[in-house]
């Protein structure tokens, strides 16, 4: 059976999802405060890395990267409720792209698997 990443459509699917996902993140008042001051292009590149990972694609993120990358945000109050919101927006993005519910769940599981690293605990 094809892997999750192949079923979703690989890099092309990531490219299709990244703008929709990032737009949702920036419009959502629960989380957009964390993205206010960042360079949009650099941020979009990071979102692409994140989506590739949760789509089950090739990536070399380590738990340490996740911790270091979010430490400053945790200091600014990043907590479970924000991770929940991101997982929800991720699901809404995939739904918009016509992805099956079972695959969406698998993506959510992958996102949740890095939750403790992201929240530095």
């Amino acid at each position: 059976m094809a892997s999750l990443y192949e079923r979703l459509g690989g890099e092309a699917a990531v490219d299709a999802a990244v703008d929709i996902f990032y737009r949702k993140v920036l419009s959502d008042d629960r989380v957009n405060g964390f993205f206010d001051d960042v360079d949009m292009e650099a941020q979009a590149a990071k979102q692409k890395g994140f989506l590739t990972m949760v789509f089950g694609g090739p990536n070399n993120y380590t738990g340490k990267d996740m911790r270091d990358g979010h430490k400053h945000l945790v200091e600014r109050g990043l907590n479970d409720s924000h991770v929940d919101a991101i997982v929800e927006l991720l699901g809404a993005t995939l739904k918009e792209l016509g992805v099956a519910d079972a695959d969406i769940q698998e993506v959510a599981d992958l996102a949740n698997s890095v939750r403790d690293d992201v929240l530095n605990r």
């Binding site: 990244v18 703008d19 990032y22 737009r23 920036l26 419009s27 292009e41 650099a42």
Partner: protein, 323 residues
Amino acid sequence: MAQLKYKDSIYPVTTGSSVLETLLEHGQAIPNNCRAGACHSCLMQATSGNVPDAAQKGLKDSHKARDFFLACVCKPEEDMEVCLPDIEQLKFPAKVSQITKLSNDVVELKIKTQQPVDYFAGQFVTLWRDDELGRNYSLASLPGVDDELIFHIRLIPNGQFTSWVANELKVGDEIFVQEPVGDCFYTQGNPEQNLLLIGTGTGLAPLFGIFRDAIQSGHSGEIHLFHGGLNPSGLYLHDMLSAFAEQHSNFYYHPCVLKAEEGMAKNIVEGDLSKIVSQLIDKPAGWKSYLCGDPEIVKKLRKQIFMAGSNMNDIYSDPFVYT
């Protein structure tokens, strides 16, 4: 901690610091200006060690291949040895052929190089007064049509470079040009796509080349040019662009000012530029956008256009970053 070797000395790079910061901290003189990866003043070359991708964004392939990088956005992950490239190799002389006042504070500078220069309309160069003082200026000229390189330069009170242009530079003088760079230019292959061009002040310069390039290439989609000025006199090509719009059915010129004046031309709209844009172009999905000029306005418009549905990859920008 990564180590940085430069001119026979070795410096430790604190995590998160750039090559530029590290060298400046240790008293090394490295040319620099915007410190944001935009102006290319701090171009350096790695003689050993890996260059992080982020430090080569926007560089030409031929430069990437020679391990050139921008020191201000290069945060070494491993040991590197670096040097200043022989910048003289990248510069060529030109002669001033014309200086014309376009408004109270904008001059048009035309310069002629001995050999033809390879560039895309909308790219920018560094103009050098001498070995020490160089600044970025966007090309307003169109290769193949304009014989000269043309710039629109806004005079900044007490500005080092622009005061020299205003007070000392004369026709016939020599000036040095460092090769054109940047990715804000027209690309062929999608003639039906609508184009949104927005510039504040002399941010009009690159757009002036870009839309002429599009029209010359037979672009059939709509081309909307918004030019924002503080007041009507800031719309320094108003009459020419209004006439151009009359002659080209797919070209629309939208002059905008923050402060209206009595008796100003009827086609000028008063108000906040980003609001005027969002009212007229409310669905930029599928459009290609070019945003040039004031960095804050460019940033705001970029977000606005993205949020209104445009792909990130379809938004090009040239913020005129200054320090």
